[in-house]
Amino acid sequence: MFRQTIRAVSKVNRVNAVRTYAEAASSLKLSFSMPHDTIFTNKEVTQVNVPALSGDMGILANHVPIVEQLKPGVVEILEGSNSSKFFISGGFVSVLPDSKISITSVEAFPLDAFDKSSVKTLLAEAQKNAASSDELVAAEASIEVEVLEALNTALP
């Protein structure tokens, strides 16, 4: 009787200890939010690629917990073979210990919502303003240039 129980217990232990393939492939729970809108809450996804300040990174399930700042760029969300791309204006990504990932950004739009030609005209204007003698205008324009350049390279 006792032996049986012990065996059962040890079996349970073994199952827990061995990280199975299915577990490793378990999905990330993504929350993607803006101050004024929420794009995803606890959505199961396979992989998320984010433009972190320290370099672009891809995040899979069971990633080590991190907090990273994001620069303007493309967030790519992969669910199985589907991928959706959003352009964000910068923000934060945090991965929590239980494979929860949350992306917060002040603004985010689907990549196909942008028009390449208007991005180019805006970029030209911003580059002109960045050379302005007015410090405030120049500072604002240089931020614009950074965002627009990222957007320009992201667009096909």
Binding site: S33, T41, T104
Partner: protein
């Protein structure tokens, strides 16, 4: 000349004693109550239409703030003990006519000051500013107005934080706002904001892989403050709008009651005047016979 004046006064005072002369007064009062009812009804409708938008903004701001709060919970960030530089940020708006929402905030501010006697206060919205000026004018260090007319935006919150950081660093920041609990109730609450030092000192910060050369914790502290103010503004706005809707609903109901009362009084008085005039005419006619 003087005698005429005195006579007129005498006439006015005797006219007041008589009942019929008030017919005009009742009519005027009835008219003004009807106008007030129109205004309160319109304000109620405006508030009702804004409420949906305000609630949506509040829900998304809650979700947005959640990722911060999750992080602080896992990192076990704690407020520093026995800190002396405390900043209290009280959030309301500029406009009244919404029940007790601003005075409740005033009470909350006073009770928080009792808790942190050395605290400085920053007021967002004219209504708290006035209340703080009345009770603790020496503690008010900064005040903002012009917010809370429309649904609050993150941009507004960022601009406010830009000004707030000019005050220097505080060990402890407490944001006071009206938390929206349901469409009929709100709850003045406090949210404590972690400073950069508090985040760096969190006991389980090592759980996270943070590259500190980018100034991540500094930005995180700043964003957390902005988020708290934005969420507070969104909650406060939703509470205010729903409080205003309720206040205006009650006001319209009361106005309706008064209109009923005064219409009855008006009709009765009119009838009495007619009856009296008839009595006069009939008496006069019969005395001629």
């Amino acid at each position: 000349m003087y005698r005429i004046g005195a006579q007129q006064i005498a006439r006015v005072s005797s006219a007041k004693a008589r009942n019929y002369a008030t017919l005009r007064e009742i009519e005027m009062r009835l008219k003004s109550i009807k106008n007030i009812e129109k205004i309160t009804k319109t304000m109620k409708i405006v508030a009702s239409t804004r409420l949906g938008k305000a609630q949506k903004a509040m829900t998304s701001s809650r979700v947005y703030q959640e990722s911060d709060l999750d992080f602080f919970k896992i990192a076990e960030t704690q407020l520093p003990e026995g800190s002396d530089r405390t900043l209290i940020i009280a959030i309301t708006s500029d406009k009244g006519l919404c029940g007790s929402i601003h005075s409740q905030m005033g009470k909350k501010v006073r009770s928080t000051i009792a808790e942190y006697p050395n605290a400085d206060i920053a007021a967002i919205g004219d209504k708290t500013k006035v209340q703080v000026l009345r009770s603790n004018a020496d503690k008010l260090v900064m005040a903002f107005n012009g917010v809370g007319k429309e649904t609050p935006s993150f941009n507004e919150a960022s601009l406010i934080v830009d000004e707030l950081v000019k005050l220097g660093t505080y060990d402890k920041v407490v944001v006071l706002y009206n938390k929206f609990t349901s469409s009929v109730s709100f709850d003045p609450s406090a949210a404590e904001i972690y400073s950069e030092a508090a985040i760096d000192a969190s006991s389980k910060l090592a759980v996270f892989d943070i590259e500190d050369d980018n100034g991540t914790t500094e930005t995180l502290a700043r964003i957390a403050l902005t988020n708290a103010i934005f969420a507070g503004m969104a909650e406060g706005y939703a509470s205010e709008i729903s409080a205003r809707r309720n206040a205006m609903d009650n006001a319209s109901k009361n106005a309706g009651d008064m209109i009923n009362k005064y219409s009855i009084l008006y009709n009765r008085t009119r009838q009495a005047v007619i009856t009296n005039e008839l009595v006069d005419i009939i008496t006069g006619a019969s005395s001629l016979d």
